[in-house]
Assembly symmetry: D2
Homo-oligomer: 260 residues x 4
């Protein structure tokens, strides 16, 4: 029954300067609110809808920028890997290694991540039931690694739509591991914009408060200083301007739910 | 931005004594917590899965018992109508007239209810999108009645399952009318027990806190002194023993969400 | 293993002249193709999305027109009832009495229909699993009536969309009763046009051939001489011009599936 | 408008002897029925539910066995790749290279496959709408490869269930590429057996006839001489004993649909 942790940052590493600016700003907000904070950003967007989409700086450059975030702001960092080959290098920098939702059933990837000994955050696939995550957990546990986070990011609901089933948090927590709510991917309308996913940022505060009301151990959220200019996931990212108010309410609800 | 109202009582009017006992107990709890309370119970379960299911005492007897609840405890009451013919008699007793979810698209029923001038609570059909409710609202408004409540009770999600889409509250409130969360029907597994609907009472607290976190104007909840012996909807009704704790948390979250 | 029967006609009784014209034309086509034919049309559209929608001529006038179809063309007729009170008069004219999908769980309506002794065609609710229909069957059987048809018309799939699960035909036929595919309501996009349901007529031939391939006992189809001017369900009705070609293919597939 | 092609074989390469036996038997049946045949089997099951599941012989051994099938029976072969690194070696043996459904959005994998110049069969992810496949097609076309097949294998429908939307065939064919129906994965109940996917083999004939009725260019089907002993996907594979009857009906329906 500890207060929630925030995993947040821009969808993709768009450039060192921007990444450092966002990390600094979110650190400042979370310190003020006494919310433990892990910086998040991706070095490669490997599964975009379209071949034309922005991909990011790649593994090597990306990890260097993430290392700078760690050094400069003394923050732990989380990022996602997409191939087995990335696990080892990524483990040298990342505190939390994330398995993307589409890849949550790829045994070798999950096992390679587990073997690094890092904390593993699995995003539950949009095609999985909450109880299906137990098999993913067992794959990671088979490596001896029991530092696992389980993230809800919405489940397929008809075409080009996701729905967040709030029952998934207690069901996934029955595995014994902490559960995370991904507030910004959950408002995606996958493929909803033809050659990219649309998103409904306006629902982020509602779903965030709802998930914290249901009970979560961490909040995952993509944030940006200028979402409308972001190179990926702009339509669903939260503006830095709105972050503090969102977190204040979430923290207050969290304290009620957990009797803190 | 007013505190939520509670609409609660046993699924069906099983007998006068039990109804009065439950009304008294819930009134006592809600007075202590300063939550406005409307007593709910049904005189006829007209759409049970099975022909063998308990139906209730019928319109005439049922309304008499509801009138006793009003007289004895000075409580407003809500119940549902299933045919046009019931609207007029029901309006003599009911403060809020409810349209069942399966019947939410039946124009004549909705219009007949609207014409009584009572407050109308429409349960959104399991087959409707949140924005579809606007057309139902217009049917009621066509009678000159603008006292309308809109209830989320879960939407079809595959077979024998419902999911609560927390986005539905802000979407339905865009009509300008208050929104209600039906916490106990939302955990039904429709048809899940073969000849009746199964239910997962254990999820009621999670979904209730989530919905209040998202933001609702009222909570609807079926409660019983002995759910395991209830003649309908036992698997999803909340035990009177657990009600107070549930409401305390809900009220605290509600106050944060609404800055009360 | 008998060839499929066709249940077809305009969505609503728009007027006597048009109804007779359509009946005559479909009779001519089905006689040429040796397909048993039942004329279908509704006298009241009781559950339209919008209060503004066309409703039809009502019970009394509507039944008179249906009687003319019977007299003039020696055709059996099918239509739907919406209230218990309609069952008795409707039974004097209708050969098959239909329970609308939204009303398929209303016990009293189903029982009232069953008691008339007419063949009862139940449209499976968009919110029901195929195996849920067994409980509806039992309600009708409780009246001693065992002349039952079970219709698939699509199941809720996300918002404003339906999907036809072809597994539903063998599952529903396990009840021992014939199964019907409603080819035109299955391509509705419910509520998809804001104040009315949109529809995708272009998919009717694909779904019809698919359903006949899976195996059905009857096809239900709304047809019109000028769908673009129809007063209801225009976007999904089949044009009379296209009917014959559709039926020729369906009949040929049916004969293969059933080894006729 | 050419007759459908059959892509079939055991789920996994369980051993050389069995693979050759099945290939020989299916070849014999398809030659008799004059159905073009491509042998299918997987050398690695990379995304099983459970860490305990059978994986197969791996890339090198598996390709050798597939090469024997080609040499001995003069059959083209199809198999799936799971990492970019496999594309080149696999291309030396495979005639059709398949992208697994869960991986259908992984840009690098799809591009690597496209670059081999082989025919690429993309299984549409259970989380994609039929029109979303156009973006996958563009990724492959970006490599200059325009030999593409698009496979429907069911879409997420609630938890642990898939539904086949027969509209997906005409929608996907609008891209200009042939469409395939995967008849055996479509009857999976993903995760339905806890640590593996359950399956409902009994529905394969219904869905196959339905899909051919809707109109497909190829049928994909996993077959086995002893499905109950199979090391993967036993519950949904078709027994060799039942294959011929299934294909006879499918071929007859196909000829009607395509006016062959």
């Amino acid at each position: 029954n500890r207060p929630f942790v925030l995993l947040a940052g821009p969808c993709a590493i768009e450039g060192e300067e921007r990444v450092l600016r966002i990390a600094e700003k979110v650190k400042e907000i979370t310190e003020r609110l006494e919310i433990p904070y892990v910086f998040k950003s991706s070095y490669d967007k490997a599964n975009r809808s379209s071949i034309e989409s922005f991909r990011g700086p790649g593994l090597e450059k990306g990890l260097k920028i993430l290392q700078k975030v760690k050094d400069k702001f003394d923050l732990p960092v989380i990022s996602d890997i997409h191939t087995i080959g990335q696990a080892e290098s990524a483990a040298e920098v990342l505190d939390i290694m994330q398995i993307p939702a589409f890849l949550s059933r790829q045994t070798d990837l999950v096992v390679a991540a587990g073997k690094t000994g890092r904390v593993i955050n699995v995003k539950k696939g949009q095609f999985l039931a909450p109880w299906d995550i137990e098999q993913v957990v067992k794959k990671i546990e088979s490596t001896g690694n029991e530092k696992i986070l389980l993230t809800e990011r919405g489940v397929s609901f008809g075409y080009n739509n996701l729905v967040v089933d709030m029952r998934s948090f207690p069901i996934m927590r029955d595995t014994g591991y902490p559960v995370v709510f991904d507030a910004t991917h959950s408002v995606q309308l996958p493929g909803g914009a033809g050659d990219s996913s649309a998103g409904e940022r306006k629902f982020v505060p509602y779903l965030t408060r709802a998930a914290v009301g249901a009970g979560v151990d961490a909040l995952f959220m993509e944030v940006h200083d200028e979402p409308s200019k972001a190179l990926c996931d702009g339509p669903n990212m939260v503006s830095l301007e709105d972050l503090e108010e969102l977190l204040i309410k979430a923290k207050a609800i969290d304290e009620i739910v957990k009797d803190i």
